[in-house]
């Protein structure tokens, strides 16, 4: 019988994203949030030669630790970069096609991979809850070759249609919808990752498609946490559970205080032999 492992949903989400990160690819990651933590985890484990840029113009840094946005990024986040530039330069390099993947955390992602970070409830003019806007996510989701979204598996985060498209997925899903809106050709959402699932997108319809599911949940457990029913791959794969190495790096090197990791709920899982 295998050993039981314990981890939080936050750890599981970060690990599922880190498992997608490849060596010798270039990533534009949202600054100082969970995408950055996933990137650091990947670089300390499976993908030490994955490279990234953040939107303030820090190109290819090699920071020693995770630096939250709020702690006043300062020198730690810029450490040992190959270049210190600015936001427009990063935008130019992305527009030219240098950035393979974007990684974004999102409040809401819909069936066509559109994301919302502007408001929830009410109308645009009279929002119930107003949020900070697209920030740099619009640039990332528009111009990186492929975009990876992170969203906790909660029904309100997976609506059929977002309240407001802050940053583009496949828009209405129709052919060339992105190109017709002036976005670069052959770009778009690649994966949506939660703590228990990995989604892709159907090439024809651009609808979200469930590719893999965590071994500790059932398909029904997952579907109740979505407002729409995604396409489902056949065969449906199982996500690998967290490894001891990944959990150790997260807990000991990336977030030793548990400020982020401790926010999730705990899962106890015993792999079947």
């Amino acid at each position: 019988m295998s050993e039981t492992i314990n981890f939080t949903t936050t750890e599981s989400l970060l690990i599922n994203v880190a498992n997608l990160i490849e060596n010798n690819k270039y990533y534009w990651v949202a600054i100082g949030g969970s995408p950055m933590m996933a990137m650091m985890l990947a670089r300390k484990t499976l993908a030490p030669r994955a490279y990234y840029v953040v939107e303030d113009g820090t190109i290819c840094p090699d920071p020693l630790e995770y630096v939250p946005f709020l702690s006043g990024a300062s020198g730690a986040a810029e450490y040992r970069a190959v270049a210190w530039k600015d936001m427009n330069t990063v935008g130019f390099h992305c527009a030219m096609g240098y950035y393979d993947y974007g990684i974004l955390d999102c409040l809401q992602v819909d069936m066509y991979g559109n994301i919302n970070s502007t408001f929830i409830g009410g109308s645009y003019e009279h929002p119930e809850r107003r949020f900070g806007g697209p920030g740099g996510a619009n640039e990332i989701a528009s111009m990186c070759w492929q975009t990876i979204f992170m969203a906790d598996q909660e029904k309100r985060k997976y609506p059929r249609r977002v309240d407001f498209i802050s940053s583009p997925g496949y828009l209405d899903g129709s052919p060339r919808a992105r190109e017709r809106a002036g976005l670069p050709a052959n770009t778009g959402p690649y994966r949506v990752v939660s703590e228990i699932a990995m989604f892709g997108f159907d090439e024809e319809t651009h609808m979200m498609k469930l590719l893999a599911i965590a071994p500790w949940v059932t398909l029904d457990d997952l579907l109740v946490e979505m407002e729409f029913e995604p396409l489902i791959a056949d065969p449906l794969e199982k996500l690998p559970p967290p490894t001891e190495q990944q959990l150790t790096v997260l807990r000991a090197e990336i977030d030793p205080g548990g400020r982020v990791l401790g926010q999730g709920t705990w899962i106890e899982y015993t792999p079947e032999d």
């Binding site: 939107e55 303030d56 113009g57 820090t58 946005f69 709020l70 702690s71 006043g72 990024a73 300062s74 020198g75 730690a76 810029e78 450490y79 040992r80 970069a81 210190w84 530039k85 600015d86 936001m87 427009n88 935008g91 527009a95 559109n114 502007t118 645009y124 009279h126 929002p127 119930e128 809850r129 107003r130 949020f131 900070g132 806007g133 697209p134 920030g135 740099g136 996510a137 619009n138 640039e139 528009s142 111009m143 407001f164 498209i165 802050s166 940053s167 583009p168 828009l171 919808a177 992105r178 190109e179 017709r180 809106a181 002036g182 976005l183 670069p184």
Partner: protein, 323 residues
């Protein structure tokens, strides 16, 4: 040129020729000292109703001392270009300075969200990149620039962007209008008395924000000699003729971090965030801004040398931040 779609957001109509005339008549090419106090600079160069921009945010290399002075002088009706911001729009809004904002992004803030939800401030949607790109267009003397993002979204619908058919390729592309700020306030590492300024580390849009503005106030950690500037011209981010005022403010980005020099003050950050969350920004501003004549007096009486030395020691990353 065929316009296929237009956002309905409010923007100021670009006026490159008007900006040129302003530069012709208002921007001295003389190498003269522009050193003055923050009080003098804000009195002279920030007017009610101005379109205000700044580089970075109150957590990192933001012009905190100058923002505090704008609040202290109760400037009103500002239109603020907000991108990649932290709590800076929140303190300006709480100070009653703001009537309209452009949103690239603001950090989760009760003050900002409430002001928007209650219609106290007007909003135009953009993205972080679009705001600094509009400043780039302004800094190039152009009326607009094309870009490969913002299109297709509700952000576009609520922005001032347009979708057109590119007359060269026949393909769709978005345009954004140039932004020439009325006034920019930017904090730098080093500057000479004339305004030749150096910034080290990643910037957000130091060149664009400084260049696109009609009026530019630079605050600096230290005033260096002009000889020093001329020894390493490569390091100059902003040339003197764009600068209207040079304000010497050591720890001028406190409570934020100045890369290579000092870290941010975590206790202050928590106090600011809590004031925002609890709706007690008035008391926060009274304590940190209104109670003092200047940033230096506030540092002296409320922060103290011991804390400032700790913040310098906390910035353990120094490589690359000096000439």
């Amino acid at each position: 040129m065929e316009v296929l779609a237009s956002g309905k957001g409010v923007y100021r109509t670009p006026d490159p020729d008007g900006h040129r005339e302003w530069v012709r008549t208002h921007k001295s090419r003389e190498l003269k000292s522009k050193v003055m106090t923050a009080k003098e600079a804000v009195e002279k160069f920030v007017s009610d109703g101005d379109y205000l921009g700044y580089d970075l945010n109150i957590h990192k290399r933001g012009p905190a001392a100058l923002m505090h002075e704008i609040i202290r002088q109760k400037k009103k009706d500002l239109w603020v270009a907000v991108r990649f911001s932290g709590m800076d729009p929140a303190i300006l809004i709480a100070g009653g300075c703001v009537s309209r904002i452009d949103i690239g992004w603001f950090i989760q803030s009760g003050t900002c969200s409430r002001a928007i939800q209650e219609g106290l401030i007007k909003v135009t949607e953009w993205t972080n990149g679009a705001v600094v790109y509009r400043e780039l267009a302004g800094a190039m003397g152009l009326p607009f620039l094309p870009l490969r993002y913002i299109g297709g979204t509700d952000t576009f619908e609520q922005s001032g962007a347009k979708l057109i058919k590119d007359p060269f390729t026949g393909q769709e592309i978005c345009l954004v209008p140039a932004l020439n700020l009325d006034v920019a306030v930017v904090h730098v590492h080093q500057c000479d008395e004339f305004g030749n300024a150096r910034i080290f580390g990643s910037g957000l849009s130091p060149m664009e924000t400084c260049s696109c503005a009609k009026k530019l106030i630079i605050s600096t950690e230290e005033v260096v000699s002009s000889d020093e500037i001329r020894r390493r011209p490569q390091l100059t981010t902003v040339p003197y003729y764009m600068v209207d005022a040079v304000v010497n403010v050591p720890f001028g980005t406190y409570p934020g971090a100045m890369p290579g020099l000092y870290g941010s003050d975590p206790e202050h950050m928590i106090e600011m965030m809590m004031a925002d969350r609890m709706g007690t920004m008035d008391a926060y501003l009274e304590k940190w801004v209104y109670a003092f004549e200047s940033h230096a007096e506030m540092l002296d009486k409320l922060v103290g040398a011991r804390k400032l030395i700790q913040l310098m020691q906390a910035e353990t990353f120094r490589e690359g931040y000096r000439a």
